[in-house]
């Protein structure tokens, strides 16, 4: 370790690591050692019953699914997972692992949408199987079969794979640590999605890192509403609890959005230690707090309230802690964290009980990617730390232009190395080489993962994230590529010029990110266009295709969008002009 740079490393392996050879090994061990302990519980909305599976039941049901897959396919085939919230997803996922088929979790495409990522994901991973439940495909969403008709999928209903089907039980393969467990498609634009290849070793290593950072044990019950096709929902909850031999209680995401306090009541009811989500979830709980709905609730059991997947706000943490302190919630349980699918999931977090670290910096300096003391009170920006590096990984802050490692309190790109860093993107050697095989200018031979995030380390090794190198927009924990939104906008009306729009986000008064769209109109059409009509059309297609309510849509004159001399759209400059009110509005 070079003491002049802010590169940190903790490489000695703890004793827990190496105990398992794959996640299948973990599942078999849990089913053998604690067969009757509840592994997963799904809490219903209003109607419907509480569903519960013990470790042995999960194993038996997953084996039945695996046998069907083995009979109809072969090792390395892909299976997309399309499920309504519930435990069928969990069974399907483990069924894939047990069969050697590569799971591809996917969001169920919305009914009205035409350009979500699903078609491009299918084209990228070429699945043989689509796994779902009979109820979803035949009753709730019969349109799905039609949507994916040309993909020639073999549909597998996991709810009709009974555990004692198949009289001659075929043997199931045992995966090794380097075998692929699943593909996580959260990177890349809608048109060019990238599937992160996550191996069993990656999962085991990151599970161990999470266990150590959060101080988890087999008593660490989890309660989660985060969708299971999202890596945070899957790895930080469903897989971490299995790794520990602990209980994981699940709620439907929509159930949480409707009644966020249900999440808190479930944490109390099951005496959960671990529960988290993106920043907006904590904001939503504080906003919807109704004392009469939380009578008698005790949240003192909640030891790890992880907060990640979108920028963590100091104000939200304070507000949440103040609102729920009377119910026993301790601000020291707040665990801001940082991670990404390319590193399996978690990259940094504080240790259990540490509480969030904050740092006051100059807002003005920060806009120039520099860290300095605030010049005056109005210039103060409170940054929330995302914790320190995890056991077994290396982390460096690197100048994205010169590739030189930087010292403390200098803003650069966050680079990560370690056994949790995935092998690359599915069948995409170019992107794999540029993102996963980076080398610093300091001459060390290590391959690094370039996260694309900007940040700095303080003197104690606390990581602060300050922005993105590309213009990724993050709203409610979901990544949106501005190019995708801009293309949707330009396709919706002939008066809107191609490659002459900019989408970006701005925090509103509640510090929630809101989408702004700036778009040029054609000179020839300018006189006839009905501005209001176009704006309404843009708003409608953006909500339909991207699930975002655009806060502001601005039409500007031909040729007035800020671009570089080579014609690249300058989204940051457009944002600054929007704030300054200096755009040439139609």
């Amino acid at each position: 370790m070079n003491s002049t740079t802010a590169e940190f490393s903790l490489e000695a392996g703890p004793s827990g690591r190496g105990e398992f050879s794959s996640l299948v090994d973990v599942l078999r061990r849990r089913a053998a050692d604690q067969p009757d302990d509840p592994a997963y519980i799904f809490l219903p909305d209003r109607q419907g019953e509480r569903v519960s599976l013990s470790f042995s039941e999960v194993y038996a049901r997953s084996q039945a699914v695996a046998r069907r897959l083995v009979k109809r396919g072969q090792k390395g085939d892909r299976a997309v997972l399309l499920f309504a919230p519930g435990l069928d997803f969990v069974v399907a996922f483990f069924g894939c692992l047990l069969s050697g088929v590569i799971a591809v979790p996917m969001m169920v495409p919305r009914r009205a949408s035409s350009r979500d990522a699903s078609a491009a994901i299918m084209a990228d991973c070429l699945p043989r199987f689509a796994m779902t439940s009979r109820d979803l495909l035949t009753h709730a969403r019969p349109d799905l079969a039609e949507r994916f008709r040309t993909d020639r999928l073999d549909w597998i209903f996991v709810d009709s794979c009974s555990a004692d089907s198949g009289k001659r039980q075929c043997p199931l393969p045992l995966p090794g640590p380097e075998d692929i467990a699943f593909l996580q498609y959260t990177s890349g634009s809608t048109s060019a999605p990238k599937g992160v290849i996550v191996s069993h070793r990656n999962l085991l290593e990151n599970s161990e890192m999470i266990r150590i950072a959060f101080g988890n044990t087999c008593k660490s019950t989890h309660v989660s509403w985060v969708p299971l096709y999202h890596d945070m929902g899957l790895i930080l909850n469903v897989l971490q609890s299995l790794y520990l031999g602990a209980l994981c209680v699940l709620l439907a995401p929509v159930s949480f959005m409707q009644r966020p306090l249900r999440w808190l009541r479930a944490i109390d009811e099951y005496r959960a230690e671990v529960a988290g989500g993106p920043n907006f979830a904590f904001e939503l709980c504080a906003t919807r707090h109704r004392p009469d709905e939380l009578k008698g609730i005790d949240l003192s059991c909640w030891k790890v309230a992880f907060n990640g997947a979108e920028p963590v706000r100091a104000r939200t943490i304070e507000r949440f802690a103040a609102t729920f302190a009377p119910y026993g919630f301790d601000i020291k349980s707040m665990q801001p964290a940082y991670g990404m699918a390319e590193a399996t999931l978690l990259i940094s977090a504080n240790r259990r009980g540490t509480g969030p670290g904050t740092c006051n910096v100059s807002r003005e300096e920060l806009q120039r990617n520099r860290i300095g003391a605030p010049a005056h009170a109005d210039d103060t920006q409170i940054l929330v730390g995302c914790g320190r590096l995890l056991f077994g990984e290396c982390l460096a802050i690197v100048d994205p232009e010169t590739l030189a490692p930087l010292g403390p309190r200098l803003v650069g790109e966050v680079w990560v190395a370690g056994p949790h860093v995935a092998q690359g993107y599915w069948r995409n050697p170019e992107a794999t080489a540029s993102v996963f095989k980076a080398r610093t200018a300091s001459g060390d031979a290590r391959h690094w993962l370039r996260t694309g995030d900007l940040g700095f380390l303080d003197e104690h090794g606390e990581l602060y994230i300050t922005g993105r190198i590309n213009d990724l927009i993050i709203i409610r924990g979901i990544n949106h590529y501005p190019q995708d939104i801009e293309e949707t906008v330009q396709d919706c009306h002939p008066a809107l010029r191609r490659h002459c729009g900019a989408a970006f986000s701005l925090p509103d008064q509640n510090e929630e990110e809101q989408l702004v769209i700036v778009q040029e109109v054609e000179r020839t059409l300018r006189r006839e266009i009905a501005v209001e009509e176009i704006i309404a059309t843009v708003r409608e297609v953006v909500a339909r295709e991207h699930e975002i309510a655009a806060r502001e849509i601005v039409l500007i004159h031909t040729g007035s969008l800020p671009k570089t001399t080579s014609g690249k759209i300058q989204r940051q400059l457009t944002r600054q002009r929007f704030l300054a009110g200096s755009l040439s509005r139609v």
């Binding site: 409707q258 209001e532 704006i535 309404a536 708003r539 409608e540 909500a543 339909r544 309510a549 655009a550």
Partner: protein, 84 residues
């Protein structure tokens, strides 16, 4: 027990609520406009439904805004249900 809100009351409540939460500059919310046209995403749909549930004391499904895609249609449906 207070009287059930009328269809007109539900309509004006929705207009007021959506104007406030969506806060669309340069656009007015009108009763015949589809929710899609207002740019209502699924999170905001859920929040609208929850507020209506609390106000009207009804259990509503997330699909409700698909089935009744404008404020007028929604208010007609809700007024009918509250009067039952």
């Amino acid at each position: 027990m207070t009287e059930n809100p009328s269809e007109a009351a539900i309509r004006s409540w929705c207009v007021e609520y959506l104007a406030r939460t969506l806060d669309l500059p340069g656009q007015t919310i009108d009763e015949g406009m589809t929710f899609a046209r207002m740019g209502l995403d699924s999170a905001n749909s859920v929040f609208l439904i929850v507020e209506l549930e609390d106000w009207l004391g009804l259990e509503l499904t997330p699909d409700l805004l698909f089935e009744h895609p404008t404020i007028s249609a929604l208010a007609r449906h809700l007024a009918e249900r509250t009067s039952r």
